[in-house]
């Protein structure tokens, strides 16, 4: 049984993502080319080629198959994956979380605004601009 796996989905194609700071070196990292997922989203060839070109620049393994079936077969103890607001990916994560611990990690923040409920942009911006105009969102302040 594998201990921990890094799963990169198509909204998190970066090996500079903060999630790579967490696990031990040598943690396997996969992208799953899930035909059913892409088909459901009706991605055009343009989109698929863009994703594939991006994957080819990364030192990761690209495997083909159904995401849920692959993880069921691998039986890792934990999956680490980039956070996304995407509803399809989050649906997959919920499905995965029924059988294995899944940890989502956020990318570096754009602003230090509390992650509260917002509806109109300028209300959000009046708070966000205090740190959005600072390097690393003023992380070292």
């Amino acid at each position: 049984m594998i201990d921990t796996i890094i799963w990169l989905h198509d909204k998190g194609l970066s090996i500079s993502h903060p999630l790579f700071e967490l696990p031990n070196a040598g943690t396997p990292c996969f992208f799953i080319w899930d035909d059913g997922y892409f088909k459901q989203r009706a991605y055009s060839l343009k989109r698929l080629v863009f994703i594939y070109e991006s994957l080819c620049e990364m030192p990761i393994q690209i495997v083909q198959g159904n995401t849920l079936e692959i993880f069921t077969e691998m039986r890792p103890q934990k999956i680490i994956t980039p956070y996304t607001a995407d509803t399809e990916i989050n649906h997959l994560i919920k499905q995965l979380a029924k059988g294995v611990a899944v940890e989502t990690i956020r990318s570096k923040p754009f602003s230090m605004t509390p992650n509260s409920d917002v509806k109109r942009f300028f209300k959000y911006w009046s708070k966000a601009k205090k740190t959005a105009l600072l390097e690393d969102a003023g992380k070292n302040l």
């Binding site: 198509d10 909204k11 998190g12 194609l13 970066s14 993502h17 080319w33 035909d35 892409f38 088909k39 989203r41 009706a42 991605y43 055009s44 060839l45 343009k46 989109r47 698929l48 080629v49 863009f50 994703i51 594939y52 070109e53 991006s54 994957l55 080819c56 620049e57 393994q61 690209i62 495997v63 083909q64 198959g65 692959i70 980039p82 996304t84 607001a85 995407d86 509803t87 399809e88 989050n90 990318s107 570096k108 923040p109 754009f110 602003s111 992650n115 409920d117 917002v118 509806k119 942009f121 959000y124 911006w125 966000a128 601009k129 959005a132 105009l133 600072l134 390097e135 690393d136 969102a137």
Partner: protein, 266 residues
């Protein structure tokens, strides 16, 4: 589970390989290439100071980084940090950073209200009910054959490149929802299949903003507006864009007759 190839002799070989993996996928590859190296090249070329005054124009200093941001290849923090290196005062790049903030904002909205990504946030403010809007996009729109020269030109651009200037996204969305009275969801879904930066939150909530289900009023445009920003690029003749060659008052009366009627009675 099968390991897939990650090295190719050239781009065409990669495109052929992807075509075999997804024979159902429509269209051809875009001239816009994926990958961190391409994203970093675009990041090095940003002009965040001049962006503010030129961003609305077709030849403005836009970054075209959105496909790389959408796929997490480059993040907003990196872009903002790079932009800060181009200015002596952060105020010089405020418009640029504000546009980055829109993406952050849409993600936050979707995080708190994932149901808003596909459902109307508020009622339409057009004088029409949701059931007054068609569910399906007609073929003349998806094949760039509407007969409106500028709209067809923008749609062809979407289909060929998978990228659109923000203004042209709004023009197409407004045309579909308000001029053709089709549900924003149909247009949003179509955009997501083509746009390299097609992001549920940014795309769908922007469609709702145009539709007026996530804003105070519907967004409409006329030929004069398109001419101002895209006149150098597109056939702007009145003859080939007849329906758009009108004042905002005329378009409001044409597109939202129930609102005009209601105003008369108020």
């Amino acid at each position: 589970m099968r390991n897939l190839q990650n090295q190719f002799e050239n781009r065409q070989a990669l495109v052929n390989y992807v075509q075999k993996l997804a024979p159902w996928a429509e269209g051809d590859a875009s001239e816009i290439k994926g990958g961190l190296s391409q994203g970093l090249e675009k990041l090095q070329a940003i002009d965040p100071i001049n962006y503010g005054n030129t961003r609305n124009f077709s030849d403005g200093k836009i970054t075209r980084l959105s496909p790389y941001v959408h796929h997490g290849i480059i993040d907003l923090n990196q872009i903002r940090n790079e932009a800060l290196r181009h200015c002596s005062q952060p105020e010089q790049i405020i418009k640029f950073v504000q546009e980055l903030a829109w993406r952050d904002f849409w993600q936050r909205v979707a995080e708190h209200h994932p149901e808003w990504v596909w459902k109307d946030v508020e009622p339409y403010k057009t004088g029409f009910k949701p059931q007054d809007y068609a569910e399906i996009l007609p073929d003349d729109i998806t094949s760039a054959n509407t007969g409106i020269a500028c709209i067809d030109w923008f749609i062809e651009d979407l289909i060929n490149t998978g990228y659109l200037h923000n203004h042209t996204r709004m023009y197409i969305a407004s045309y579909i929802v308000h001029f053709r009275r089709i549900k924003w969801q149909a247009g949003a879904k179509w955009f997501l299949s083509h746009l390299l930066d097609g992001d549920e939150a940014s795309n769908n909530l922007s469609w709702q903003w145009v539709a007026s289900t996530f804003s105070n009023k519907p967004y409409i445009f006329n030929l004069e507006n398109v001419d101002k920003y895209f006149g150098m690029q597109v056939d702007m003749s009145s003859e080939h864009n007849a329906i758009l060659d009108a004042s905002y008052q005329q378009l409001t009366e044409l597109l939202f007759p129930n609102l005009v009627e209601r105003d008369r009675h108020d």
